[in-house]
Amino acid sequence: MSKYHNFMQKPLSRREMLDICKGGFGSLALMSLLAPLPLSCGQSERSIINPSSNLNLGPHFLPKAKSIIFLYMDGGVSQVDSFDPKPRLTKENGEDPRKKFKVDATQFDNVGKILKSPWEFKQYGECGMPVSELFPHIATCVDDMALIRSMTSQFPEHTNANYFLHTGSGLQGRPSMGSWINYGLGSENKNIPGYVVLDGGLIPPGGLDNFKNGFLPASYQASILRAGAQPIANIKPKESIPNLQEQKLSFIKALDKKQLAETGEVDAVESAISNYELAYKMQSSIPELTEFKEESKATKKLYGFDSDDPHTRGYAAQCLLARRLVERGVRFIELTCPKVSADRWDQHGNLKDGHEKNAHAVDQPIAGLLKDLKSRGLLEETLVVWTGEFGRTPFAQGSNGRDHNPSACSMWMAGAGIKGGTIYGRTDEYGYRVIENEVSVHDLHATMMHLMGINHEHLTFRFGGRDIRLTDVHGHVIKDILT
């Protein structure tokens, strides 16, 4: 057992958990619903999200990160146009790639000429990290970022690659990383689910199964939050009269309690009763989240609330919401892309136009998020991950697009435990294949879990006769990018 084992909380028994909230409605309601949790109280407040399962196991060692914000660049950002400059592409623009290197089968099999990047790169920050013109705002944060230029996927198809990135398996039906992390650590906040997907308008190919619990209990699946007055399904009471719902709930509770007294104490029924209390509180705590009443004008501006681009404004709201969820102890938050076009970052054609519009939507909000987190001291406890499911080809698809490329992809991480200003891994001169320090999706998962205090080899769930891990039988923590 780890030497930090004193740090570990023994999982509370169900009965102990119920004891904590024995006062039921009353005493739990006393706990502030609206104020963010102080960051230190996380360890002593165990979740009652799923009291019957008692599976919240606690960290294996001292975590660096309390939360993860996963900025998903759905469709696949082109690495050679964003974070991995390749002068050779400019030099050999228009030449036949097949004469230069072996070209793998691609999804569209419409291999064009070598295509130089339409964007200039400049060096930024103390570290001098090169970033293209696509991301002028993110470029100002490079000293907090560790850039990985050597990510790979196993799949050149969106759906498989999405499942792979989210669940560690290319097939439908495995639990997603957010589910695993909540299964491993439990939730810090009783009033908000521990795994939240902020739907920016585009659910990635493969659908909601990217965020599902697979064979883990259903309580570990993501809650999908959307902007607007009803951010989560069924969160708004339908009763037209104030207090009517409370009246009904106390009637229900009284009868339930009586029932319980007659049959004897049945755990499952008791838990179901307490679930009503939690659900009741979520009705106010969740909508409160998505109203930004107490956020200052300056903060909003930082994120891009005043942008002319509606997609920037939309993504800004998602990023700000992500910070608010971090403040409330949500473990895993994923942001899906705004609906700039139906193709996300997937520019098989019109690379220039598509990537520019997508970048414009997310650049300022992401930079705003990093800066805001930093200024509030939250960045050191929050891991921010920015990645697509794969990269794109250095040669054109048709004349002006790029096809999928699982052999190289750039991604970055920032925040908790991350050595800022690092560049890790290398691709060949065309940015086509990784030639140094390859990082697999399993390695990424291992590293994310590591920062959350989980040994990825030890977090398992027995299913179908096997003890299954998020990282299957693979995965190494990328130590070189950690502080």
């Binding site: 585009l202 909601l208 179901a272």
Partner: protein, 975 residues
């Protein structure tokens, strides 16, 4: 089976969990050691948990060449001298020495394993060795056996209760019983009149009659079909990127409902699933005459379907893996898929076993099937073929006497070995060669020599040349013609064909979802009235296995459809490079071909002028008959391909294949596991027969355990899909065997088994628990009382519909489209949402779209359909409460229930509450409950009044009340 009468608790949550819990979980240590230590129940669990990872059946991870999963292995000489186990002598056994060692470098299991044996476990191992270290096969691999078959369920249950000194709960009251039986047998609450009838019936067999009534209601099939659908990952779409439809999936759902209602023996059900298309004796629907047996094969095709996989061979391996996983878990309770990369780490299942299964699946082809194929259609086709033969014989005889056939010198070489092309199929001769047909459209042979007669004049126009035609009877008849497997070695495949609204496809590695961007060139719509050379560029897939499929009808977004006038005809199929060859030599030119040519020439030249007016009526009536063969409804299932024995994939990678090919056969550790399948097709029928062999120890046990699980909420073996070494041990092993043997004796009747179980006293007990029992048996393993359980998602929704008297009891048919909320987004989203109330139909009739699963179903733990789930989770999450509190469906039903209540004129207040209680809880309210209700209603009235709510006042009040009722635990649970 002489097993020890105790149960061990196995903590199997996860390694981590067991570490955390092992600190304070030593309650079992205080239990005294058994007199006789049993290998299966006492020893093997210790070895599995602590030793097998390095000393188990898988040689690739074995350390020190020591294996502890066999007697021979454990007693063999160790490489460093000594013996791990010396029977009778614990002190000489290295095993005992090592597990009690104090040094970190010697102790077993090694410290990095993070598992330490408890004192009790060490003592058990010692005692077992002392008693002779008796070895036994894993319990579930030993054939069920009971000492005495006059005992019944209660004998076995009470045995344990007495031993453990647990007080039995009393028999539940009649209201509870009817609610329990009704929900568990039909998934619906009992109707008020049925409750009243049962309460009033004081005869001795009142309970039996009530049980029979539910067993014989249509709803019974709807309930038990849904249980089964969890096993076979039932869905109506393929998921992945675009969520394409699975043709006619719902027909399979209807098949299940009918099969359960007709109490088709389980043995038959199993056979139909595995090999329904291959059965000599088909099973027909009694009413419609339609063939039922083939529909079950749809379960193979229920898996996820990948959109445009770049690596099509890997895609096949994934698909087959899922088929093996589902088949082996569902029917044998074994996780054969674990042996994909190496021998199973725990169970005696080898990688060779896995690839023996793999061959079976690889030799199986997916196909649409005519869902309306009936005995009548079959007979009509037979009759028509006879008529055709009759006409052919008659005409040929009459004509040939008039024609002198000159002997033409025989063609040299049958197939010229040409470098230009290879002939893959030739239908210009009399037969299809090795090609296989499915469906009836193509008849039994080519059209060679069939007389073409003018149906008005009876004049012989010509004798037909040989082609494969899907309109041997008529257009719009379903059928396909498929080539044997071949390896692609050329740039192009060519098929000379013509037709209408039909399809030719090149199937590579069994991949079916053929479309752009990658595979678009592998499917061609056939829409030409002239002979056309259809060319397929297959250059990119050289070295892959493939076959050609010629099919009447077409796939629209992968959903098969057969227009009325669709047909396809083909002359031959070739593979070639560069240009289409100028001449394609016939496979075989025999005398009859030449004779036909001569005759046709003479007819054309006017040398023959034959009339067959006697055939006019026959031709006319056979054309009318042929109309009956047209097909409209289809289901996606399988048909047999050609036998493929698969090599072993080293570490599960198809790139690394073994030299040796594994013959298709059953699992080697089970009876008949060493007999290779002889079938020239897949061998699925032999697989089914092996599972149904009387010596098979699993088939019956696994199924009776599933039935027990659905009735008691927990199986006798709790891990219902895993009877292997990592599964849980049975809580009542003798009872399980008793049931397994009885099930087989009763001709595998599921209804009889259910009735047998629900008429036991164990089933009828009340749920009331006393504290003493809770302390001794906190998980109610021994069933001193009936376990309280939450209703399943379907039963909750359906129960609401019954309570509000809105249940639409239509059975069968296409699914009701899913109601889409704004939270359900993504590719493949249907253009239109279905109705909020699902048309009031039962949940089993609501659509199951993989990428748009109904939130209410999944939130209440209906499993995600990707593999076998015999046991659902029962979670407790706030989203469940939110649905019941705020979902528009629930609120709408509350309002309807209130309306229905108020339609009952002249009900007093008490009668109103009674009406609601009977609808919701199957019982009458107590005085106190009426009092509470009255108080609550008054509160509601005051609140509404205070808010000047001038909507329908009464309705509003009662709606709120009914809505509250839906949220009560007594409504949501079987209490």
């Amino acid at each position: 089976m002489t097993v020890s009468r105790r149960i061990k608790k196995i903590w199997s949550l996860s390694i981590l969990c067991s570490i955390l819990l092992s600190c304070n979980n030593s309650n079992q240590s205080y239990e005294p050691l058994p007199k006789k230590v049993d290998f299966n129940f006492d020893i093997r669990p210790i070895l599995v948990q602590n030793c097998y990872l390095c000393h188990g059946p898988d040689p690739s991870s074995r350390k020190a060449k020591l294996r502890l999963d066999t007697y021979e292995g454990a007693t063999a000489a160790l490489k460093d001298g000594g013996y791990a186990v010396v029977p009778g002598k614990p002190s000489n056994s290295e095993l005992i020495y090592r597990i009690t060692h104090e040094n970190d470098d010697k102790i077993m299991p090694p410290p990095e394993m993070n598992s330490k044996l408890s004192e009790r476990e060490i003592n058990l191992l010692e005692k077992w060795i002392k008693q002779g270290a008796e070895w036994k096969p894993h319990w579930s691999f030993i054939k069920p056996n009971v000492d005495n078959d006059i005992n019944d369920i209660d004998f076995y249950i009470n045995n344990y209760l007495n031993q453990k000194e647990l007080d039995k709960a009393p028999i539940a009251n009649k209201n509870t019983l009817i609610r329990r039986v009704s929900y568990l047998l039909t998934g619906l609450p009992p109707l008020t009149e049925d409750i009243e009838e049962f309460i009033a019936d004081s005869s001795d067999d009142a309970y039996d009659k009530m049980v029979d009534k539910y067993l014989n209601s249509v709803s019974y099939g709807e309930r038990w079909a849904r249980h089964w659908m969890d096993l076979v990952r039932y869905a109506e779409t393929k998921g992945h990127e675009f969520d394409y439809a699975i043709t006619g999936a719902w027909k399979y759902r209807d098949y299940l409902i009918k099969a359960f209602n007709n109490d088709i023996p389980y043995s038959q059900l199993l056979k139909e699933h595995l090999a329904g298309d291959l059965l000599k004796e088909k099973r027909y629907d009694i009413e419609t005459g339609e063939i039922e047996s083939q529909i079950a094969t749809a379960f193979y095709a229920m898996g996820e379907g990948t959109h445009s996989p770049v690596d099509v061979r890997q895609d096949e391996a994934n698909r087959i893996d899922n088929m093996i996983d589902v088949t082996s878990k569902t029917f044998q309770g074994l996780t054969v898929s674990c042996a994909k990369c190496h021998d199973h780490k725990f169970d005696p299942i080898t990688a060779a076993d896995y690839y023996a299964f793999y061959g079976v699946m690889e030799s199986t082809r997916f196909t649409p099937l005519d869902a309306n194929l009936s005995i009548e259609k079959e007979n009509t086709a037979k009759e028509l073929l006879e008529i055709q033969d009759y006409i052919k014989t008659l005409v040929t005889e009459k004509i040939s006497s008039q024609v002198e056939v000159k002997m033409i010198p025989k063609d040299d070489g049958v197939i010229k070995s040409s470098s230009d092309y290879k002939l893959l199929g030739d239908f210009r001769v009399s037969n299809f060669g090795k090609w296989k047909t499915s469906g009836m459209a193509f008849g039994e042979k080519t059209t060679l020599g069939i007389p073409e007669i003018n149906k008005h004049s009876g004049k012989l126009i010509a004798l037909k040349e040989g082609i494969a035609s899907s309109r041997v009877f008529d257009a719009g008849v379903f059928g396909s013609l498929r080539s044997p497997n071949f390896v692609l070695d050329s740039d192009f495949i060519g098929v000379r064909a013509k037709g209408k609204q039909s399809t030719i496809r090149i199937i590579i590695d069994n991949f079916q979802l053929i479309q752009n961007p990658i595979y678009g060139d592998l499917t061609k719509g056939v829409n030409t009235s002239e002979w056309t050379n259809y060319t397929f560029n297959v250059e990119a897939w050289k070295g892959h296995k493939a076959y050609i499929e010629i099919l009447s009808g077409e796939y629209k977004q992968h959903n098969f459809d057969l227009p009325e006038n669709a047909f396809v005809e083909a002359q031959y199929a070739i593979s070639f490079n560069e240009e289409w060859p100028s001449e394609i030599k016939t496979r075989d030119v025999d005398a009859s071909t030449r004779q036909i040519k001569t005759i046709n020439k003479q007819i054309k030249n006017g040398h023959l002028n034959p009339y067959f007016s006697e055939l006019i009526t026959t031709i006319d009536s056979s054309q009318r008959l042929a109309k009956k063969l047209k097909s409209k409804t289809f289901i996606y299932g399988v048909s047999d391909g050609f036998a493929i024995n698969s090599p072993v994939f080293d570490r599960g990678r198809y790139q690394d294949l073994s030299e040796e090919r594994i013959p298709r056969r059953f699992l080697s550790a089970l009876p008949l596991g060493d007999v290779p399948f002889k079938s020239k097709g897949s061998g699925r029928l032999e697989l089914a027969n092996a599972m149904l062999d009387t010596e098979n120890p699993l088939t019956s046990r696994v199924m009776v355990n599933r039935i027990w699980h659905h009735l008691f909420g927990r199986g006798i073996v709790e891990t219902v899909d895993n009877f292997g070494l990592q599964g849980k041990l049975p809580s009542h092993p003798e009872l399980l065997d008793h049931l397994a043997i009885k099930f087989q004796k009763d001709d595998w009747s599921i209804k009889k088994m259910i009735k047998y179980i629900v008429t036991s006293n164990a089933f009828k007990r009340s749920t009331i628990i006393n504290n003493d029992v809770v302390k001794k048996d906190p998980n109610n393993i021994y069933l001193a009382s009936f376990p309280v359980r939450r209703l399943e998602s379907e039963a909750i929704r359906d129960g609401i519909l019954v309570a509000s008297e809105s249940l639409n009891d239509t059975v069968y048919g296409p699914p009701v489209e899913t109601y889409l909320t704004k939270f359900m987004q993504g590719r493949g989203r249907p253009a239109k949402s279905g109705p909020l109330n699902g048309n009031g139909r039962r949940s089993i009739y609501q659509s199951v779209r993989r990428n748009f699963l109904e939130p209410m179903m999944t939130v209440f733990d209906r499993p995600i359909p990707f593999t076998t789930f015999g046991k659902r989770d029962v979670t407790n999450v706030p989203s469940q409460s939110l649905i019941l509190m705020n979902d528009p469906f629930v609120i709408e039903q509350a309002e309807i229930m209130a309306q229905k209540l108020l339609e009952q004129k002249s009900l007093s207040f008490n009668e109103k509450i009674e009406w609601i209680y009977m609808h919701a809880f199957s019982r009458k309210p107590t005085e106190e409950e009426i009092g509470n209700a009255s108080k609550f209603i008054k509160q509601l009235e005051e609140m509404k009044k205070a808010n000047n709510n001038d909507a329908d006042f009464d309705l509003e009040i009662w709606k709120e009340y009914c809505h509250s009722i839906f949220n009560l635990k007594e409504f949501l649970y079987l209490i």
